[in-house]
Each structure stands twice: as structure tokens, then as C-alpha cells.
Amino acid sequence: MGAAPRTVKLMYFAWVRERVGTASEEVVLPAGVTTVADLKAWLAARGTGYEAAFVKPGVIRAAIDRRHVQETASIEGAGEIAFFPPVTGG
């Protein structure tokens, strides 16, 4: 692990976007946030909108660089991480 700050683009969709209040943002990840689950917990503590969005973190799906990933997936090296509800197209 180097000490260089890790910057990542976060994207939010559907009601996650509405609750967070933004469609996307760049964040600097603190040390110790290494998995999708870690990132959700860290985001939930960032403010009221985030808390409302991530209150049931298990409901929210994640994608890293446009591929679906599980809770336990590592976010190391990720460029773009998206959070969204279960999909309802078709």
C-alpha cells in the first residue's frame, strides 16, 4: 500500500441518486475502505442523503467499471463505481 490518495468516480442511479442528491462525484477513498461493503458503510456516514440511500446497504447493487460485483469485491484499482437498486427494465 502506498500513501498516494485513491480517487474514484462514484455514480448513483434511480432512487439511490435521488436520495444522495447527485448523479456522480469524485471522492478520495480513506485507508481501510477496500471492499464494496466498506465503501457503502463509509458513504452511509457522509450525511443525511447518503444515510437515507444506504440505510439498507444489502438492497443496493454495485458495479465496478461497468460490471456487476458482489459486496465482498475489492475496489482496488477501480475507476468508476456505481450504486443502484435492483434493475427493473424489460
Binding site: A63, R66, H68, F84, P85, P86, V87, T88, G89, G90
Partner: protein
């Protein structure tokens, strides 16, 4: 083999013609068209909006189509999905699967729809008469439908 995501409507007959024109290897073409129904939870729907994840949506549809082509001997396929505002009766999605024989075409079309329903990042927001728009909940049946295809190399268990 192609996918298309955008606000424009589609014409089923024209899409089938474009896929099959001049070909004599195809013997079976199955199309699935999903449309906006006029009611949700027993109340009339007044408006519908489809959000998606530009870039990932197309990538997922390509993956769905590629997976279908690996499982069945498809000779042509197409996935079209609309986004933006839609009204009851409007087309939402079109899936076409063409093969030499009918079972492959039927199964591949059904497979693509089942996977699209659980994998492709689209979200529906609908408004019912006199109420604020709300996000549609995912259906457990859709997960179950997609899950069927994991049990066997081809063909759902029902």
C-alpha cells in the same frame, strides 16, 4: 448480433426484415416485445420513465447476447431497449433470436429476456393517477426466471 439503447420506437417487422433479408439459412425467428401496461397494482398508470446507465447498459446487453450465442446456434439476434418517457401502450423492449430451428430461437429469446430483466441496468419510474411518481420494485419472479438457466446447459426447468 446487435444492441441498441435509446429513446426511439422500433418496428418489429422492419427489424426482422433487416436481420433476415437475403438469407436462406434461417428457418425460425422469435421476437419478444415488451410494452407499457396501463395499470400498476390495480391503478391506472399515467406516465412512465426509464432511466439507464449509459455505457454499462449497452455492455450488459452485449454480454447477454453473446451468452445466448454461446448456448444456442443463433444465426442473427437483436436487442433494442428504449429509455426516457413512455406512455401506456408504448413499446419498451424488443428481442429477436433467429436460428435454423424453432427450439433454439424460442429458448434464446426467452433466455435473453430473463437475463436482461435481472442484469441490464434500467430502472422504471411510474406515476399512477393522482400520486407522485415512484420507482418500480424488482420482482422476485424475474430472479427466479433468470436462475432457471443456471441449472442446465440449455433450456429452462419449469
Amino acid at each position: 448480433m446487435a444492441v441498441r439503447v435509446g429513446p426511439d420506437d422500433f418496428d418489429i417487422g422492419a427489424e426482422v426484415k433487416a436481420l433476415t433479408a437475403g438469407r436462406t439459412d434461417i428457418g425460425a425467428v422469435v421476437t419478444f416485445t415488451g410494452t407499457v401496461r396501463g395499470e400498476g397494482s390495480g391503478r391506472p398508470i399515467t406516465a412512465m420513465e426509464l432511466e439507464h446507465y449509459p455505457g454499462m447498459t449497452e455492455a450488459e446487453l452485449v454480454r447477454v447476447e453473446r451468452e445466448a450465442c454461446e448456448r444456442w446456434p443463433l444465426l442473427a439476434s437483436l436487442v433494442v431497449h428504449r429509455v426516457g418517457p413512455l406512455r401506456p401502450g408504448d413499446n419498451i423492449v424488443l428481442v429477436i433470436a433467429a436460428s435454423a430451428h424453432r427450439q433454439a430461437a424460442f429458448e434464446a429469446a426467452e433466455f435473453m429476456m430473463d437475463y436482461l430483466k435481472t442484469k441490464a441496468p434500467f430502472w422504471k419510474k411510474e406515476a399512477v393517477a393522482g400520486e407522485a411518481a415512484r420507482w418500480v420494485d424488482a420482482r422476485d419472479e424475474d430472479d427466479a426466471a433468470a436462475e432457471r438457466w443456471n441449472r442446465k446447459a440449455s433450456g429452462p426447468s419449469r
